[in-house]
């Protein structure tokens, strides 16, 4: 049996849900960050699969953009997390509630 579009999309959805669960439940900022990357890549997988099965290149072009943005995001985000850690000596989201009244 050759895998069809549905299989790819199911895998993509599973990855997305996995990432979302990680974002919502994990406490460490770095792990949340990695979960976010997982979500992005789940979306990338869906786009590439759709591109492959419809024979159009739009999805692949889109993926290029996503990858580029993700790379930039990682650079900024990791820098922020490191800066935050240096300042607060913690990377746990429960400790980062200064915006609350």
């Amino acid at each position: 049996m050759t895998p069809g579009l549905e299989h790819y999309l199911v895998v993509s959805a599973l990855l997305f849900c996995l990432g979302l669960t990680g974002v919502l439940l994990r406490r460490n900022l770095l792990v949340i960050y990695m979960s976010l990357e997982l979500m992005l890549n789940a979306a990338n997988l869906a786009l590439v699969a759709a591109s492959r099965f419809t024979g159009k290149l739009d999805g692949q072009v889109m993926v290029f953009f996503v990858v580029t943005v993700a790379a930039a995001e990682v650079a900024v985000g990791l820098a922020l997390i490191v800066a935050l850690y240096r300042r607060r000596a913690t990377a746990h989201v429960e400790d980062l509630t200064t915006l609350k009244l």
């Binding site: 974002v23 919502l24 989201v93 509630t97 915006l99 609350k100 009244l101």
Partner: protein, 622 residues
Amino acid sequence: MNPYLPWLVLLAPAVAAVAITLTALRRPATAARWSIGAILVALAASLWLFRHGAGGQTAWVWLDLPGLRVDFGLRVDPLSQLMLVVVTGVAGAIHLYSWGYLRGDPGLPRYYAGLSLFSFAMLGIVLATNLVELFVFWELVGVSSYLLIGFWYERPAAADAAKKAFLTNRVGDFGFLLGIVLVWSVLGTPDLAELEAKLAAAPPAWGAVATAAGLLLFCGAVGKSAQFPLHVWLPDAMEGPTPVSALIHAATMVAAGVYLLCRVFFLLNAPALAVIAWTGGLTALLAALLALQQNDIKRILAYSTLSQLGYMVLAVGLSGAGGNPAPAMYHLTTHAFFKALLFLGAGAVIHALHHEQDIWKMGGLRRKLPVTFWTFLAGTLALCGVPPFSGFFSKDAILALAWERQQYALFALGTGVAALTAFYMFRLVFVAFTGPAKSQAPDHAHEAPPVMTVPLLALTVPTVLAGFWGVDRWYARQYGVASGPAHGWGAQLLEPFAHAPVAAWGGLLAAGIGLVAAWKLYGRALSDPLPARLGAPARWLRDRLYFDELYAALIAATQEGLARVVAGVDRWVLATGVVRGGAGLFELAGRILRHVHTGNLQTYALLLAAGAVVVLWWTLNR
């Protein structure tokens, strides 16, 4: 007629007022020179106009709107010609007198600026060609009157009196303004000459609103001429300097109301005139009664002014629609002279006694102040209507008019008031001048300087002689009545007795009764015997029949009640309901919604995801 001459009359005092304000506020002598010079120029020009002005109108367009054209013009006709002479003549004497009376007062330049402003405004009323222009000057008169009554503004009584005069006048002026708008909206023009022509051409154009318009215009006169029920401001206005009382509150400003009625006489119809006549008669009686128990020399004269103004208004009302209100203007003219004289005489007394105004602290002034006494006596005789003084002729003209019109109630009222007039005026003369001295003050009194006695003597001339000049025949020309041939002096003196014997003898008898009664009661009195004899009514009269208290209570009940309602609405509906309620609503919403903001990053992420799910679900299920 030289078209520039009326402008000279009008603008000379205005120039003086501006010049004093700009350059001479710290230089009394310069200010007095400006002011006196200006009024003398105006007097000279007025006399020239009186002799040679054949009548006419000069104007330039001031406002030109669709449906409304307002000129700024000057009108010279018999009515304004003589009135100009009266105003500038009396004002000239008073300007001069003030220099002696107020010498050394630090506010003198301000006083002269106010006096010049007043002269300008009053001459504007006299010369105005249309109702709008007249109203502008009317208000200017009100302002300058306010400034002059409140001249000694550091005294609370003077400041209050100024406010009271201004506000009371505003009540009347509001009606006047409505009247002007009504006349304009019905007849389409505020110009007096055009109005008269229009009404003469098509009388029905006026129609049913004539009475309303006439009464509204009369409202203005009620305020300015201090007729009942707006008479309360005039006695209080005596807080101003005495020359101001003489000029504004005796001779000219209060006469403006009567002048207005004569100006717009062609607009008044029979029902309006009936109301006017009775208002005047009632005021004359009321004021004469109130004068009986006043002890302040100026207040007695103030109530006497009210009473005489009542006579004039009565005369206007009695003239009948389309008639000839010359008797009103006649009495206005003679009254201007002798009342100014009386006030200036009172001023000389007050000046001599170092600002003592209570007649029960005077007495025996006849020997100390001979010039003042004899001129004051001439004014008193004129006021009481004793021949051959001018007041006799003008008052007789009014009584004769009442008799002629068969208004016997008003005739009796007028005659009764004449008796009261003689009574209270001779009470004043006997107590202050001839009777025994009642305090130490008169011992040190000295006659006033010539700058004050010369105006007194100058005013005595018209006071005695104005009855022989045919003033009424002059005014009658204004109303298209052919003036009869001029009489000789002797014939003029006897003419009232031949023309309307009942009125002449009745008036004379009334004056005699008043005089004798005053002599019996006050000839040698050291204190007022009336309160003991009359009891409560004397007290009521002394307290001015409680009009001030009544008005105070009325205002407290209506205006302050309304203010309390408005304040309640403001406090409970607007402040509490709308402002606080609105703020409270949003604060409550904020208090509830802030619980959503936990500060936890993952809560936000969950809400974001849930929101995305909801949006997705909603989009896909459509």
